[in-house]
């Protein structure tokens, strides 16, 4: 078993899909993912043409499972609603989504989650700031400021990228 660490963002899904496809074409097939899909475990195989697609589903329904199974996709669970699907092919490269509508909808769901989490984070930060103001302590003030800034920067980065991708897909659609 070969383990590879690879970081990826939700909006950079094509990069991870193409990488997995290249790995299998080079003789390494995905077996499973660990730690929310950043550690990939591969096994050696005969080089095969296989399409990998990422998907996000808030709930895995029997209808979804039946449909992907009928269409010959194998499902790998990543966690937190994320999945990787694999399908072998010969000529035409298959796609899980043949238009941008599904991808826009996926990104909108993620964006809603991010905005909801941001509000929760803002509440936590407000409490931290209030505590620091009420019980002044220079070292705590610095830590609060740095941690808050980093968290807010991360949220801003994610929300901006998701919104930009929705806009890009909407123009293509």
């Amino acid at each position: 078993m070969i383990k590879v660490f690879k970081w990826w963002w939700a909006w950079g899904y094509e990069e991870i899909e193409d990488w997995l496809e290249r790995m299998e074409a080079g003789g390494l097939r995905l077996v499973e993912t660990r730690f929310s899909g950043v550690y990939f475990h591969f096994e050696k195989c005969i080089p095969t043409k296989a399409r990998y697609c990422t998907d996000y589903q808030t709930k895995l329904t029997p209808e979804y499972m039946t449909l992907i199974s009928d269409d010959c996709w194998k499902l790998y669970q990543i966690g937190a609603g994320w999945y990787i699907l694999r399908k072998e092919y010969q000529d035409e490269r298959p796609n899980l989504y043949n238009n941008f509508e599904g991808l826009i909808s996926r990104n909108k769901t993620l964006l809603t989650w991010m905005i909801a989490l941001l509000f929760i984070e803002l509440l936590i930060i407000s409490t931290m700031i209030w505590d620091t103001y009420k019980f002044p302590n220079n070292s705590k003030l610095a830590v609060t400021g740095i941690v808050s800034s980093l968290i807010l920067a991360l949220f801003a980065f994610c929300i901006t990228n998701l919104a930009m991708q929705i806009s890009k897909f909407s123009k293509k659609e």
Binding site: E63, T66, D70, D71, E92, P94, G102
Partner: protein, 107 residues
Amino acid sequence: MNEKLNKTYLPMSESGYYILLSLYEPMHGYGIILHVKEITKGRIRLGAGTIYGTLTKFEKDNLIETAGEEDRRKLYKLTETGRQLLKQELERIDELYLNGHEILEGR
């Protein structure tokens, strides 16, 4: 016809149009993929993710409804609302077709 539905679905995407058209007769998700591939002579190969998302959305908006099961697969069919929407889209396509032919070939 609900104005909100018209605004959301008209004009229809090619995928949406063919999914609704396929459900003129009860059919399951994978049956739609095969049917659309056949009637478009392989030009359109609907993705399983596209089908699942579209069917979920159509069912929520009452354009389609369940019509029993076949081999443990959920069957769907058009509702009256879905039928009306499809008819409106067909009229729009007819207009495009007639105007196109009249201008390009009629002059």
